[in-house]
């Protein structure tokens, strides 16, 4: 399978071509996500994703296919303020 090079939270990564944002995020957070990108275990995710500086709403993760050169940022709550 062909691979694509992407940037994830400032790191370079190679992924299989055709991977969706939902599949990628599921892999990163270690939780199975259903087709609506809700956690199968019923927990709240508490994360958001942006690709190339634009927020991708959770409802669109499943239909969003990652491509060569994409810069993905995955964020969550951290101590602060």
């Amino acid at each position: 399978m062909k691979s694509i090079g992407i940037k994830f939270n400032s790191r370079e990564l190679n992924l299989d071509e055709g991977i969706t944002l939902r599949e990628f995020i599921s892999m990163q957070i270690g939780k199975d996500l259903d087709s609506n990108s809700a956690a199968v275990d019923g927990s709240k995710l508490g994360i958001a994703a942006a690709v190339n500086g634009a927020v991708i709403p959770r409802s669109a993760w499943n239909s969003y296919t990652l491509a060569e050169g994409h810069s993905i940022e995955l964020v969550t709550a951290a101590q602060g303020g």
Partner: protein, 273 residues
């Protein structure tokens, strides 16, 4: 509110209403600066706060225990902030990410001018406020202690005005109480004193000046004993609020005896007249 009829019972049920929600605590304890999540959790519990601030940062799979889970476990509402943003553009993107991640349209808007003072950049702050209000956010605007800017932010539709008492993390207290009073006197939305609190008396003063709530983090999280300072802040906010509602006596240039002169021994009265 009719301050004459406030009783101790009333002060025990004196809800804080902000952005369409009712909170029982007027102390907002931020999560920043705690040495560990264990310390943070103890401090949050001791403070009695129902609302806390969080920053939005890169997800790291390494962090098996995280702030988000901690807040969920303790039923504390997360108010995400845009800390670290220097431009309206960055703050707006961060706010949208926060809304998506935490499923809330509340945002503590911070747009910082420079790293040395961490004071807000008024122009970027105002521009970001206008956009985020248009995007449907409840904007809690961290602002300078400037009544004119506070008015502009209010006109732009913020949910709350959050003037700094002093620079973030400085612990210098309230450097310009007069400005805070002026902001309070003109406000149609809640005023939350934010930043600069060093110790309990600063929090009490904020409430005595008429602020609706106090947001602080470092004063507790960096204290030698964080949970104990959290308790002190809880009491200070409550005491300051009660004092505000009770109505302080006017300041006078001369003394006013509190003991009656009537009924004094005759031999002494002459000495005072």
């Amino acid at each position: 509110m009719d301050t004459q009829n406030i009783t101790e019972l009333d002060i025990n049920s004196d809800p804080f209403q902000v952005a369409g929600r009712t909170l029982s605590s007027r102390l907002i304890l931020g999560t920043g600066g705690a040495s560990s999540l264990t310390t943070l959790e103890s401090a949050l519990q001791a403070s009695g706060t129902e609302l806390t601030t969080v920053a939005i940062r890169h997800f790291s799979a390494a962090g098996e225990s995280n702030v988000y889970d901690l807040l969920q476990r303790n039923n504390v509402i997360a108010l995400p902030n845009t800390a670290g943003c220097f431009t309206a553009r960055d703050a707006i993107l961060t706010a949208h990410l926060a809304r998506e991640a935490l499923e809330t349209n509340w945002i503590k808007l911070e747009v910082i001018a420079d790293e040395h003072t961490l004071l807000p950049d008024p122009l970027e702050l105002h521009a970001a406020t206008e956009q985020l209000v248009a995007d449907g956010f409840q904007v809690f605007a961290y602002t300078n202690d400037d009544p004119a800017l506070a008015q502009r932010l209010q006109d732009a539709g913020v949910a709350a005005i959050m003037p700094a008492g002093a620079p973030i993390g400085s612990g210098l207290g309230i450097l310009n109480p007069h400005n805070i009073s002026t902001i309070v006197s003109r406000a149609q939305v809640p005023v939350i004193l934010d930043a600069g609190v060093g110790t309990a008396s600063d929090a009490a003063l904020a409430m005595e000046l008429g602020c609706d709530a106090v947001l602080l983090a470092s004063a507790v999280t960096r204290a030698h004993n964080a949970p104990l300072m959290a308790m002190a802040m809880k009491d200070a906010v409550r005491a300051g609020r009660a004092a505000r509602l009770a109505g302080r006596i006017p300041r006078r240039d001369t003394a006013l005896a509190s003991s009656p002169t009537e009924g004094m021994m005759q031999t002494l009265v002459g000495d005072f007249s």
